[in-house]
C-alpha cells in the first residue's frame, strides 16, 4: 500500500476517496460469520461545484458508498480526503460533519414525527451551536424554508402535514442548515411523483448554483442521473465498473454492464421504443455474500472469457477521463 501512503491531495478536488472498503459481518451459522463486501475497493474524486452521479441496481453498494464517505459507517479500509485534509477522528471530523451533509431517500421515515419542522431543520444548527440566540436561530430557519420554496409559517407544523415533495424539501433544508460544501443526495427523488420530481431536481440545481455546492447524486434512474450529473459512476456488486462524463457514458459506454443498463431504460416515446434494441441480461444479480470470483459481472456477461473468473479487472483510464474495469474491451 505504498501508493496510498504517498497520496497527495489535489486542490482542484473537494472530495477524494481512495480504496474505500466497507465489509459487514453477517452471521451465517451458529458460530460462523461471513463478510458481506458491500463496497470493495472504490476510488474516485469529486471536483468542487461538480455533481457526480452514482448509479447501480439495488444491492450494488451505492448507498453504502455515500454513507461510508460521510463516516456514518466506519470504513473497513480506505481514505477519504475532504478539502485537502484526511478525515480522521478529532477536530477534522467535527468540521467535516458540518461541511458534509446527507439528503435521505425516504421523505416519510427520515423526518421525526414528534418534532416541528422548525426543530427538524434547526437540529444541525443546535448540534454544532451555529446560532448564538433564539432570534438568530428562528431567522435562520425562516431563511432556509424560503430557500427550499416553503413558507415561514410551516416551521411550527409537523412533518405528517406535508406531502412527499414538501417533505423532501424539508429534508433538503435540514441538510443546508449547517452551510455545507458537500451533500450526498441518496435517491432524493425516487419516492416522488414525476411532476414533483422535476420540481425537486430543479431546486437542487438552483441551490447548487446559488451556494456553490458539490453533490454526490445517488440514484437508480439513469435518465435522472444523466440530467443532473457532470460525471457518472456505475457500480455493480460493490465495485465501480465505469466512470466517465455523463455525455460520454451515454454515447460511448464501454463496460458491458453499462451498455445493457442503458439499453434497458424504456424510452418514453412509442416510435423510439419500437426501434430500441434491448440487451436483456440473463439471470439475477448474484448475492453479495457469494460474489463470483474475479470480475463480479462475469455470470451475466456476454463477453465473459476464462480470465474473467480468475482476475478481477483493474479500474483503468482507457481514454481521457473515462475509466472502465473490464478485461475484454
Amino acid at each position: 500500500m505504498s501508493e496510498t501512503k504517498a497520496f497527495q491531495p489535489d486542490p482542484q478536488y473537494l472530495v477524494q476517496v481512495r480504496g474505500l472498503k466497507e465489509y459487514f459481518p453477517i452471521s451465517t451459522g451458529f458460530t460462523q460469520t461471513t463478510m458481506l463486501k458491500a463496497v470493495d475497493d472504490v476510488s474516485f474524486d469529486i471536483k468542487k461545484g461538480e455533481t457526480l452521479g452514482l448509479v447501480g441496481e439495488s444491492g450494488c453498494g451505492k448507498t453504502t458508498v455515500g454513507r461510508t464517505m460521510l463516516h456514518l459507517y466506519k470504513p473497513t479500509a480506505g481514505e477519504i480526503w475532504f478539502g485537502g485534509k484526511k478525515i480522521e477522528k478529532g477536530p477534522v471530523m467535527t468540521e467535516f460533519r458540518k461541511k458534509a451533509q446527507l439528503v435521505f431517500q425516504d421523505p416519510y421515515s427520515s423526518l421525526n414525527p414528534r418534532m416541528t419542522v422548525g426543530d427538524i431543520i434547526a437540529e444541525p444548527i443546535d448540534v454544532h451551536k451555529l446560532c448564538a440566540n433564539k432570534k438568530e436561530r428562528s431567522e435562520r430557519i425562516q431563511a432556509l424554508l424560503t430557500m427550499v420554496g416553503l413558507s415561514s409559517e410551516h416551521a411550527t407544523r409537523y412533518a405528517h402535514e406535508f406531502s412527499g415533495g414538501q417533505r423532501q424539501r424539508i429534508g433538503i433544508a435540514r441538510a443546508l442548515a449547517s452551510n455545507p460544501a458537500f451533500i450526498v443526495c441518496d435517491e432524493p427523488v425516487s419516492a416522488l411523483d414525476v411532476s414533483i420530481q422535476a420540481q425537486v431536481l430543479n431546486m437542487l440545481e438552483d441551490l447548487q448554483k446559488q451556494l456553490g455546492l458539490t453533490y454526490l447524486f445517488i440514484a437508480h434512474d439513469l435518465s435522472v442521473v444523466k440530467h443532473i450529473s457532470d460525471r457518472i459512476a456505475v457500480m455493480y456488486l460493490g465495485r465501480m465498473v465505469e466512470l466517465a462524463s455523463s455525455n460520454e457514458l451515454h454515447h460511448n459506454p464501454l463496460h458491458p454492464y453499462t451498455i445493457s443498463l442503458l439499453s434497458a431504460i424504456p424510452a418514453p416515446d412509442p416510435d423510439k421504443a419500437k426501434q430500441q434494441k434491448r440487451i436483456v441480461l440473463k439471470g439475477d444479480i448474484p448475492s453479495p455474500l457469494h460474489a463470483p470470483s474475479g470480475c463480479p459481472f462475469r455470470t451475466r456477461c456476454s463477453r465473459c472469457t476464462a480470465i474473467c473468473a480468475q482476475v478481477n479487472p483493474e479500474f483503468l483510464e482507457v481514454s481521457p477521463k473515462h475509466f472502465v474495469a473490464c478485461h475484454n474491451l
Binding site: S163, V194, L201, H220, H227, L261, P266, P268, P270, L281
Partner: protein, 350 residues
C-alpha cells in the same frame, strides 16, 4: 361492435372517517381483445382503484357507487359473489405491484399456483402440478420441478414477479391486469419482465391493462393509453396520439417534466407547478385546474365533458372546447366527425 371490456361512468368512493374520498369519479374506457391498454397517472390518481373496482376486490371502506363494467357484454357490477369468483382469477386476473408481499410466505409456490388451477379448472392434483410446472417453464424459470417446492423467500424479486405472472396466466385469462408490475424491480430485471409480458401476450393473445406511473413502460408496451388525474380521465387514445399530440395540459406537463436521456445540453426541466390535489376536497370543476397554466374561469366551476379531438383520441379539457377542436362524444358521428380535425399540439411531442 362489442368490446371485450366496457367500463362506463365507473365511480368508486372510500367512506373514510374524515369524509368521502372519490378515488374514481366516473371514468369510461373500452378494451378490445388482444390489445394492451395503459393506465398512467401519479399516486392517488385512482389507477389501482380502477383495477380493483373491475375485479371487485376493493377493501373496506371502499365501495363502487355507480357505473357499469361489462365483460363480454355481461354486466359485472351487482352480480352475486360466487359468480364474480368464477370471473376473478379465471377470466380476468391480476398481477400486483409488490411481489414480496403478494405471495404467501407459508405455502410453497407450487401450492399457490395449483390452488388457482384446481379452483378454476377440472384438473386433478397431478394434472394441476403438471400445469404449474408448465406455467413456470413458460415464464422462464429454470428447473421448475424443483422450484414448485420452494417458498417465496427463496426467490429473488424478479423470480417472484415471474411466479405471480405464471399464477395469473395459469387459467388462460382473457384480460390480465398488471398493477405496476415492474415498479419494485431493478431496470435490468424490469427489461426482462416487460420482454416476457410482450412475448406471452403475443403467444396467448390476451388483453392487458398495464397500470404504471412510468411513461417509458407505457411507450414500450401499450397500444392505447388512458391518462388519469385525481380519479378522472384527462384523455385517452392510441399511444402515438397521446405521446405526440397530447390534448390535455396535464399530459403535456407530464411529458415535459421527465428528463430526456437523449438531451446532452442541460436544459432545465419544466415541472408541473403546485402539489397533487387533495381527494378529500376536490375542486368543483376540472381537478387539474389549480395547477393548470391555461386554466380559465369555466375550468374552476365545471368539469369538462369528453370530446373527440381526433379519431381514436378523446380528451376532457375546456381549452379544446373553446378553441373549437373536436366534437362532443355523444354527438352524431362523433368519431367520424373527429376525422377531419386538424391536429395541433406537436410542440409538446418533444
Amino acid at each position: 361492435m362489442q368490446h371485450l371490456l366496457e367500463v362506463k361512468d365507473l365511480q368508486t368512493t372510500f367512506f373514510t372517517p374524515s369524509g368521502e374520498v372519490k378515488a374514481v369519479g366516473g371514468i369510461s374506457f373500452n378494451l378490445d381483445k388482444g390489445k394492451v391498454l395503459g393506465i398512467v397517472g401519479e399516486s392517488g390518481s385512482g389507477k389501482s382503484v380502477t383495477a380493483y373496482s373491475i375485479l371487485q376486490i376493493l377493501t373496506h371502506p371502499g365501495r363502487i357507487v355507480g357505473g357499469s363494467v361489462k365483460f363480454h357484454g355481461k354486466e359485472l357490477i351487482g352480480i352475486p359473489e360466487d359468480e364474480m369468483r368464477k370471473v376473478r382469477g379465471n377470466q380476468i386476473s391480476i398481477i400486483f405491484q409488490d411481489p414480496m408481499t403478494s405471495l404467501n410466505p407459508v405455502y410453497t409456490i407450487g401450492n399457490q399456483l395449483m390452488e388457482a388451477i384446481i379452483l378454476h379448472t377440472n384438473r386433478n392434483h397431478e394434472q394441476a402440478k403438471e400445469r404449474a410446472i408448465e406455467m413456470l417453464r413458460l415464464v422462464g424459470i429454470n428447473e421448475p420441478e424443483k422450484r414448485i417446492h420452494q417458498y417465496a423467500y427463496e426467490l429473488s424479486g424478479g423470480m417472484r414477479q415471474r411466479v405471480m405472472i405464471a399464477m395469473a396466466l395459469a387459467c388462460e385469462p382473457d384480460i390480465l391486469i398488471a398493477d405496476e408490475p415492474t415498479t419494485a424491480l431493478d431496470v435490468t430485471i424490469q427489461a426482462q419482465i416487460l420482454e416476457l409480458m410482450i412475448d406471452l401476450q403475443k403467444k396467448l393473445g390476451m388483453a392487458i391493462i398495464m397500470i404504471t406511473h412510468d411513461l417509458g413502460v407505457i411507450a414500450n408496451m401499450c397500444d392505447e393509453v388512458v391518462v388519469m388525474y385525481a380519479g378522472r380521465i384527462c384523455e385517452r387514445g392510441t399511444a402515438p396520439e397521446i405521446f405526440y399530440r397530447p390534448r390535455h395540459e396535464y399530459t403535456r406537463g407530464l411529458l415535459r417534466s421527465i428528463p430526456n436521456i437523449e438531451n446532452d445540453d442541460k436544459t432545465r426541466l419544466i415541472p408541473i407547478a403546485g402539489t397533487p390535489v387533495d381527494l378529500l376536497n376536490l375542486p368543483k370543476g376540472c381537478p387539474f385546474a389549480p395547477r393548470c397554466e391555461r386554466a380559465m374561469k369555466v375550468c374552476l366551476s365545471e368539469f369538462p365533458a369528453e370530446y373527440w379531438v381526433a379519431q381514436d383520441h378523446i380528451a376532457s379539457c375546456w381549452v379544446n372546447v373553446l378553441e373549437n377542436i373536436g366534437a362532443p362524444l355523444e354527438a352524431l358521428g362523433g368519431q367520424d366527425a373527429a376525422k377531419g380535425i386538424k391536429t395541433g399540439g406537436e410542440e409538446a411531442a418533444q
